[in-house]
């Protein structure tokens, strides 16, 4: 199992993601200017402030050369995980539905929040059980998930919401308490909370670990089938 973590200028959490991946498999950094995904099994678009988040969050990063490869990789069924800024980038790139708007508080917010796993039917939550609680921190200014009503209803019906903020825990005003969504094909997943900051008991709760373990288990199963 080999993860690739993209590094854009302005990425902040790419080393954190790299370390988290290495708890469950191999991981390498992918440079934004390169078009080579180095044969990875899953791509992580990490948190941070790619290109300073200037213009609009994620709006510039989607044009990075590496993102063309990520789009192809996703279209071919490859696993792509977008965390925070990475979620914003994937929405801007059209790889995930919806958009992230400024928090209702209009402020940056850091908080350890409780999430609920909505479904285990995805490569990113496969080792979880529905209703399972995960304690993971959020840290963002632009994390309020939005999709038009009809689109959100279709996504809910198709079980594309994989994680929700637990009751009373929604930190940013996201519709339907959405914390993370996947695409229709279920191989691209974005979430605002930072699972890579919840993997080491020394630092705090480890609610992020099941997400990395799920990806690993899914890739291992795929390999077994081949």
């Amino acid at each position: 199992m080999k993860f690739g973590v993209i590094r854009f200028p302005g990425s902040c959490d790419e080393v954190d993601a790299l370390q988290a991946c290495r708890r469950v498999g191999d991981a390498v950094i992918l440079w934004h200017g390169d078009r080579d995904l180095q044969g990875v099994d899953a791509v992580i678009v990490p948190g941070g402030f790619s290109y300073g988040d200037y213009l609009r969050v994620g709006a510039i990063a989607r044009f990075a050369p590496v993102m063309e490869e990520v789009a192809e990789f996703a279209a071919a069924g490859g696993l792509v995980l977008g965390i925070c800024n990475g979620f914003q980038v994937l929405c801007e790139a059209g790889l995930l539905p919806g958009a992230l708007l400024p928090n209702t508080s209009l402020r940056f917010i850091f908080r350890q929040v409780e999430l609920e796993v909505v479904t285990a039917d995805s490569p990113f939550t496969g080792t979880c059980v529905p209703g399972q609680r995960l304690s993971i921190p959020v840290k963002h200014t632009t994390g309020r998930y939005y999709a038009p009503d009809d689109q959100l209803a279709r996504m809910e019906a198709a079980d594309q919401v994989l994680l929700r903020y637990a009751p009373g825990e929604n930190p940013n005003g996201s519709l339907n308490d959405v914390a993370g969504v996947c695409n229709e094909q279920r191989n691209v997943f974005g979430l605002m909370p930072h699972p890579e900051h919840a993997v080491d008991p020394l630092m705090g709760p480890t609610g992020g670990l099941p997400i990395f373990e799920s990806i690993c288990a899914h890739v291992a199963d795929g390999a077994a089938l081949v």
Partner: protein, 718 residues
């Protein structure tokens, strides 16, 4: 060279007649315009420390762990395993008072550059903030909101966690808010680099942002002397921070150092190219030849003096061997960072500035860096308090429970959550103890050990008794470190004071430095760097004298880093240390009651304090205690309440006979809790349990009420 203008010009630039005469006699001629701009800044208080340098020599700077002491961009201490921790605190008070968001943001940006200028990756930021009374002042609420926003904007965006800090609100800061930022960085010993320029023939390369008219400040007098009235384009502007540019600059500089491409490195801060180049030259005993026509500009038609004093952010200056310049530029291009050769190292000992072929400045380096006169302070103790008593907000007959709730809800003690929730404390995956979890932040090291850091400085207590108050700040930092099991390695300080030319302020300054010195010597903690901010004074008087102390320590096992919360029903609560001298002078309760700002503060028994610190440190390290918290503002009652609130657990305690629950004596006593067997040898005063804090014969309040009071005290203003 164009000779400079009339005496009015140098006076407006802040030079006195005698200082100007010294310059003329030193040079043997009148300085040219660019030279005058450079000299006036280098001879300013900010760059020359002319009222504080002699005093700062009193501070002990030697210690077994010190790798780099004062004089470098940041001090560095050894943390074992071939790693060093660089750290420094610096003020950005005046810019923050003008434009709090950018002022605070560029304060963070500046201190980050100081740290990566020595080759260290910034791993943590802490902030020490002071504002006027929030309840009385819309301006103070605005300053707080915007300064916090600016700190978050910069620190969050650049990926450096903000792990701690402190805030106080006092009316003496109404006109002069304080924004001090501290940064820590981590580096392998071999990557540490000094700023001394060396090697005549080597190339001076400017890295980073374009140079504009930002922060030209006082030197703009020269522009108006030369240009017509109302030439808008020449107006100076506040520095604007660009954390994205700095993030690229930071990664770029660390890669340049890892690739061993640089001879030396220096950040551009106050006085821009002038101070960075002259300090590099002075430290290396060399000269520099700069062509300012080569400096990439953000605005056209900048005068040479503007280029030399511009305080545009996100720039660094480095010395490179000629055959490595191309390699340096290649790394910089990869990081989308400008790298421009702008000059060469010479053996002349002179800083020569050209614009193309025309020489606009040609100064011996020592006149810039060493020859500014140092002034002796004329200290005189005031006959009474310099400060008006605060307005009373609590009736003197309030009962103990009501008093505790009022203290917890007061802006100086209330929960800081509304502030620290705006900062990212976890990026870089080192943070073992976040804000509110322990008395000090704890960061894991790759060696398997950890460092701890705390920042303290209660200005009101220093105003009451400068010597003891300043010493207390050092002891309190060390006490905070002890609570997580850390032993101090070194400290950095920022001395924020009023006008040192006034005898009473000079006295505060001298006394405070003596207090810091005594505490450093007693605790064996060297000062490895710092900063001085003077003239924080309004027509109504000076700020409270505010020495801010940032201390770094080391602990062997991050898994055993202490926490402040009571953790288990049935644990015993013990009081470690000596509170016998505690009093109400300078206390938060005295403030709420509107009592005068006067001392003396209680004397501190050095031996007893050291012993208490050692006891708590060992208790944390051995895992014997489940909580440890120092007793500071609001006395033992507030300390107990904070342990209860953090753990969501009550406690029942009996205070030692005669101990005033709200009396203060910071830095020398602790509340610890843990299993009865492990704490048997300690003076046990009670037990954890129940839903209320009960202090026998004094008060009983539900923990939920304590928590509600504490959570709202600051939040209601934000």
């Amino acid at each position: 060279m164009t000779p400079s203008a009339a005496p009015a010009t140098y006076r407006e630039l802040g030079l006195t007649d005698s200082e100007y005469e010294l310059i003329v006699s030193g040079l043997g001629r009148e300085p040219a315009v660019t030279e005058l701009a450079m000299l006036s800044l280098m001879w300013s208080e900010h760059c020359a420390y002319k009222h504080s340098k002699k005093l700062l020599r009193r501070l002990p700077t030697e210690g077994p762990a010190v790798l780099m002491g004062p004089g470098e961009n940041a001090g560095v201490v050894d943390v074992g395993g071939g790693l060093g921790v660089a750290f420094k605190v610096e003020s950005h008070n005046h810019p923050s008072a003008v434009e709090p968001f950018q002022g605070a943001a560029t304060g963070v940006g500046g201190i980050l550059r100081d740290v990566f200028a020595v080759g260290a990756r910034p791993i943590a930021v802490l902030d020490s903030l002071r504002f006027g009374e929030l309840a009385d002042s819309e301006r103070s609420r605005y300053l707080l909101d915007r300064a916090v926003g600016g700190i978050g904007h910069y620190g969050n965006s650049i990926g450096v966690p903000t792990v701690g800090g402190e805030i106080y609100f006092e009316s003496s800061y109404e006109q002069n808010c304080l924004v001090n930022a501290m940064c820590l960085g981590l580096a392998p010993h071999e990557r540490l680099i000094r700023s001394a320029a060396a090697g005549p023939g080597n190339v001076l390369v400017l890295l980073g942002a374009l140079t504009g008219r930002d922060g030209i400040g006082g030197a703009s007098v020269l522009a108006s002397a030369e240009l017509g009235e109302g030439d808008e384009a020449k107006r100076p502007s506040v520095q604007i921070g660009d954390p994205f540019a700095e993030k690229k600059l930071l990664e770029c500089c660390l890669e340049l150092l890892d690739s061993e491409l640089l001879v030396s490195l220096q950040d551009l801060g106050a006085a821009g190219l002038t101070s960075s180049s002259s300090e590099m030259a002075a430290k290396g005993g060399v000269g520099l030849d700069i062509d300012c026509a080569l400096v990439p500009l953000r605005e056209q038609d900048m005068e040479p003096f503007e280029i030399m004093v511009s305080e545009s952010q996100e720039r660094m200056l480095c010395v490179v061997e000629p055959h490595r310049v191309d390699a340096v530029i290649e790394v910089c291009e990869r990081w989308e960072t400008l790298a421009t050769p702008i000059g060469t190292v010479t053996d002349t000992g002179r800083l020569r500035v050209r614009t193309g072929e025309e020489v606009v400045a040609d100064l011996p380096v020592p006149i810039l860096v060493d020859d500014c006169p140092l002034y002796d302070l004329q200290p005189a103790p005031p006959s009474g308090s310099l400060y008006a008593p605060p307005a009373a907000s609590l009736a003197a007959d309030t009962d103990a429970g009501g008093t505790l709730l009022a203290l917890l809800g007061s802006a100086n003690i209330a929960s800081r959550r509304p502030v620290f929730e705006q900062y990212d404390p976890v990026v870089q995956s080192r943070t073992v103890r976040r804000p509110d979890e322990a008395d000090a932040a704890v960061l894991a090291l790759p060696t398997g050990e950890a460092i701890a850091v705390a920042i303290d400085g209660n200005g009101r207590r220093v105003a009451c008794d400068p010597r003891r108050g300043a010493a207390e700040a050092v002891y309190e930092c060390a006490a905070n470190l002890a609570c997580v099991g850390a032993e101090p390695l070194g400290l950095t300080n920022c001395l924020n004071f009023g006008n040192p030319e006034k005898p009473h302020v000079a006295w505060q300054l001298v006394e405070a430095v003596e207090g810091v010195r005594a505490a450093c010597l007693a605790l064996g903690v060297p000062v490895v760097g710092g900063n001085v901010s003077l003239y924080n004074e309004a027509p109504t008087g000076p700020i409270f004298p505010t020495p801010v102390i940032g201390m770094v320590g080391r602990l062997p096992d991050p898994a055993r880093a202490g926490r402040l919360a009571f953790a288990e029903e049935g644990d015993v609560v013990a009081l470690v240390g000596d509170l016998s001298g505690a009093g109400r002078a300078g206390s938060e309760l005295a403030k709420l009651r509107g009592e005068p700002v006067t001392g003396p503060l209680p004397a501190l028994d050095e031996e007893a304090a050291r012993a208490a610190h050692a006891t708590v440190r060992e208790l944390a390290r051995s895992g014997a205690v489940r909580s440890a918290h120092d007793i500071a503002e609001g006395g033992i009652a507030v300390a107990l309440a904070e342990c209860c609130i953090a753990g969501g657990l009550g406690a029942t305690v009996g205070l030692p006979a005669g101990l005033d629950p709200f009396a203060e004596a910071p830095g020398r006593a602790f509340i610890v809790s843990g299993p009865e067997d492990a704490l048997r040898a300690l003076p046990v005063i009670g037990r954890v349990g129940g839903a209320a804090l009960r202090v026998e014969g004094v008060l009983e309040v539900e923990v939920s009420r304590l928590a509600a009071a504490r959570s709202g005290g600051l939040a209601k203003f934000l």
